[in-house]
Amino acid sequence: MGTKRHFRVWRGDSAGGDIEDFDVEVNEGEVVLDIIHRLQATQTPDLACRWNCKAGKCGSCSMEINGKPRLGCMTRMSTFEEDETVTITPLRTFPVIRDLVTDVSFNYEKARETPAFAPPPGVAPGDYRMQQVDVERSQEFRKCIECFLCQNTCHVVRDHEENKAAFSGPRYFIRAAELDMHPLDDREDRKEYAQANQGMGYCNITKCCTEVCPEHIKITDNAIIPMKERVVDRRYDPLVWLGRKIFRRDELDGSNGSRGENMAPSTSVGVTDLAQGGAFPTHRGPEGPEVREDGKMDVTEVTLPTQGGPSPFGDQQFPLPSDRVSYQQPAQPPDNDH
């Protein structure tokens, strides 16, 4: 019942790769991820691709389909022409691990650098009171499924590796906005923090992130622009300006709600005496790896067939062919064992 369609899929790893051509069966109602699964089951069992829920809820199967950042599970085959070639490539902004799988650890690092929710002091669990209308603004951003398509498409980092260190990206601007708009968050310098530490100033509101968001979060309009505007408000507010002039920085930083660059939201109260200020981490001191009676480690860590891993020159052959060796091999001692 299916028809054969032409697919081009990028295959390779960090060392490089190329587009490969496939003809695959496509049935009514299928999505691009189905076709990748069919390729795995029938032609290329080791084709690497992330996926989980297959329902647009987990944000794992991010890829670029005909150059557009999309979720594989949310791209219906019926959106292509019958004879259209579908080209699938990995996310361009992140380093390739293998085939369609990229190293998205950049995003997890930026997540750690975004200050977490600061619970209101003195409000016991169960006593949180918020109005629906107030939580809805933040709830829009909490719809985020962390597919990182916005991070991938953002031109600040897409072709500018050098901006990655200073720029957190749209995903973490909406996180900052979400907490800024959270009715009970105790930290009041989210906007300033986003400007000063997350690189929000790099964003020049081209709305590419909003366009690719599979959850249809209005990233630019509802998060980035309000965050930018309020930063501007505060910067040029005459009272704030005066405050800056007459107080020392440490007095300003010590004021309520502003914590400078410390991201720790609070000190969590633990459940044991240890977590309440006792010595960390356990009763035991640091332990080295255990050794056998012969003084060697149990599981040897240096038994790879080729010591030292692959050659940095990209050649996979070892030892090098003799015509490419530029040093003199030591003379082999005569073999007396026989």
Partner: protein, 654 residues
């Protein structure tokens, strides 16, 4: 030959699984001061918990103040057909509200009531509106909140030590293939990074299993690829036991069209908010399928059912909100009787029941799911739905208070779907998310306490590591071996066709025979390619777990000669009170085959059984048990728990 580099780590507690239960356990272990590792089979924050839509059940009484833990406990036991471990159901009902409130201090934003409290919604099997929710993406909120709490703890550690990973570290895209023991004590876990294929060895005295379920062994399932029963199999191989493995929940409403989304869930809140089920004749058929035990609580006319949505105190519930197993069986019967749709489902309709705006407001992700995945506008036309394999009630047999695994092993804990007993023969919707939190916390807490009780760290044996390496590399050394995808499809066919919703002795015997044949084939499975992010190799390794868990399910299903909850035998269609006294316990014998034995169910404490009326109990208990009940109940029922069986609960139970 088996030359392999192995990365070694030392931790106090290793949590396998990064869904709701795993993350909650890890938070607790870290708060208890333990160095904690979290093993995540996919990326951090992608766990299957995100798929939970309806909400988390907790008797907070925000919407109906009559609700309390005793009512919740009763609903849970009823839903599980009294096969639940009563202590787990009790702890769950008592502690769920605290666990939910705690999430708010981590930054969760649930939908609100008018007075600013957490809003609660109706759900199948729950007497009162009880599910804390966020639209229909509650699971996502839960996982994100826990994920962000872990980041927050890492930020605290960073402020103190200069290293985010100093006390809690997430190993993403990592699979554990083997638990390593020192005698009977857990000593560590061995696995591989999916990205690089490199091996790692985590030495730790305590391991918490939070690996979720087994749905990938079924053809039609709502579960993701991760659900290969890893935790179940790891526990078995480590000497722990599994219970209730015959009980699988088939969610009544999975999408059946288009084929690519077959199995994906349509949340029960579609029905809780007014959606109705119709067959191809347009008939609202659920009224024909109300079992006697539920007759008192469910409406028998469409008019009364429709009034219930706005006036639940004076009307009985619509039969669409019967527990999941009942609805799944009803749909199955309608389709078998030829009153289904072409794709083999029935129609679930909200479009004629409420205005389009209300639908998009109340069920936003459902609206988007159908619009974008199936090109169906649920505000204009009905959805096509049918049963899909959704949840396994069975799992690791645990000690209820500590979540410690039973059997011969020490230092092993289990929480969430991978553990068994809590839900009995059938889980109520919404009880899963709260189960994750309640028992995740308990597992983390008790695993931490266990490590303190040890005089010395258990030691990993070199030979065990070496054989784990050999086992893991074996498929790669059989490059020409059998295709793992074919084997998975064959297993899915066996389980779907022969150990599905409706079971028969002959088919189950046949299934067991075929599973033995598959075992031989899986021993010869090969994986083409190398170790770097090779899904074929990963699947080849997972197959071993899927098979052993499937064998448990088939064996237990053959043994239990009655129909109850998530286990329906065509040849034994009735519930049998004698079988309620029996748990089926699976363990591995020395040859690696599944050994099944019967074990009596723990007897419910007097004050708990007195929460029920005798008429209800008489449907579940044996004559002997009823005589015992009469003895504790006294001549005129004066030994009752205050405040429970007075008027409010009578109104509610009508």
């Amino acid at each position: 030959m088996t030359t392999a580099r192995i990365e070694r780590h030392h931790y106090d507690v290793v949590v396998i699984g990064a869904g709701g239960a795993g993350l909650r356990a890890a938070i607790e272990a870290r708060l208890a001061g333990k160095r904690t590792a979290i093993i995540s089979k996919s990326l951090f924050g992608k766990a299957h918990t995100v798929m939970a839509e309806g909400g988390a059940a907790a008797a907070m009484g925000n919407v109906n103040s009559r609700d309390n833990w005793m009512v919740h406990f009763r609903d849970t036991m009823r839903g599980g057909k009294f096969l639940n471990n009563f202590r787990m159901a009790e702890l769950h009902a008592k502690e769920a509200p605290e666990r939910i409130w705690e999430l708010e201090t981590y930054g969760a934003l649930f939908d609100r009531t008018k007075d600013g409290k957490i809003s609660q919604r109706n759900f199948g099997g729950h007497e009162y509106p009880r599910l804390a929710h966020v639209g229909d993406r509650t699971g996502l909120e839960l996982i994100r909140t826990l994920q962000q709490k872990i980041v927050s703890l890492q930020q605290e550690d960073f402020a103190e030590t200069g290293n985010y990973d100093s006390r809690i570290r997430v190993f993403s895209e990592t699979t554990i293939t083997e638990l390593l023991l020192d005698g009977n004590k857990v000593a560590g876990a061995f696995g591989y990074y999916r990205e690089s294929g490199e091996f790692l060895l985590l030495e730790a005295p305590a391991v918490i299993l939070a690996t979720g379920g087994v749905g990938r062994s079924y053809k039609v399932t709502s579960n993701s690829w991760e659900y290969t029963g890893d935790g179940h199999a790891l526990a078995l191989r480590a000497g722990a036991t599994l219970i209730n493995m015959e009980f699988l929940q088939f969610h009544p409403t999975g999408m059946v069209w288009p084929p690519s989304v077959k199995g994906i869930l349509v949340t029960e809140s579609v029905r809780g908010d007014g959606g109705v089920l119709r067959n191809s004749d347009g008939k609202r058929f659920m009224f024909d399928y109300v079992p006697d035990v539920f007759r008192k609580q469910y409406a028998d006319t469409e008019e009364e059912a429709d009034r219930w949505y706005n006036d639940p105190d004076n009307n009985r519930r619509p039969p669409e909100l019967l527990p999941r197993d009942e609805v799944a069986r009803a749909i199955n019967s309608e389709v078998k009787a030829g009153r289904g749709t072409k794709a083999g489902g029935v129609l679930l309709d909200v479009s004629t029941r409420m205005p389009a705006e209300t639908i998009t407001k109340r069920l936003p992700s459902m609206y988007h799911q159908f619009k974008e995945l199936a090109d169906v506008d649920i505000t204009k036309e009905p959805m096509e739905v049918g049963p899909t394999c959704h949840y396994v009630m069975g799992g690791v047999e645990v000690e209820p208070d500590s979540a410690a695994a039973m059997g011969t092993v020490e230092g092993l804990f289990a929480a969430g779907e991978v553990s068994g007993g809590m839900h009995g023969s059938n889980r109520l919707g919404g009880n899963s998310l709260s189960d994750l939190l309640v028992f995740g916390k308990r597992a983390g807490e008790h695993a931490a306490a266990y490590t303190d009780s040890l005089a010395k760290r258990p030691k990993v044996a070199t030979s065990d590591v070496e054989s784990a390496v050999v086992t893991a590399l074996a498929p790669l050394e059989r490059q020409g071996g059998e295709n793992p995808y074919t084997l998975q499809q064959d297993l899915q066919a066996v389980m779907g066709d022969l150990v599905g919703i409706i079971r028969r002795a002959g088919e189950l015997t046949d299934a067991l025979k075929r599973i033995q044949e598959l075992k031989l084939r899986v021993a010869q499975v090969g994986a083409a390619g190398g170790r770097r992010y090779n899904p074929g190799w990963h699947l080849a390794l997972d197959l071993r777990n899927m098979l052993i868990v499937s064998e448990c399910t088939a064996k237990a299903a053959l043994e239990r000669e009655e129909s109850r909850g998530g286990h329906t035998r065509e040849d034994f269609p009735a519930m049998n009170p004698d079988w309620r006294l029996v748990n089926l316990v699976c363990s591995l014998d020395n040859s690696g085959d599944v050994h099944l034995e019967r074990k009596p169910l723990p007897r419910m404490r007097d004050e708990l059984i007195q929460l029920f009326e005798r008429t209800e109990l008489s449907k579940y208990l044996t004559e002997d048990e009823l005589t015992q009940f009469d003895a504790i109940e006294g001549p005129k029922g004066d030994a009752r728990v205050p405040g429970v069986r007075t008027d409010p609960s009578k109104t509610e139970a009508k």
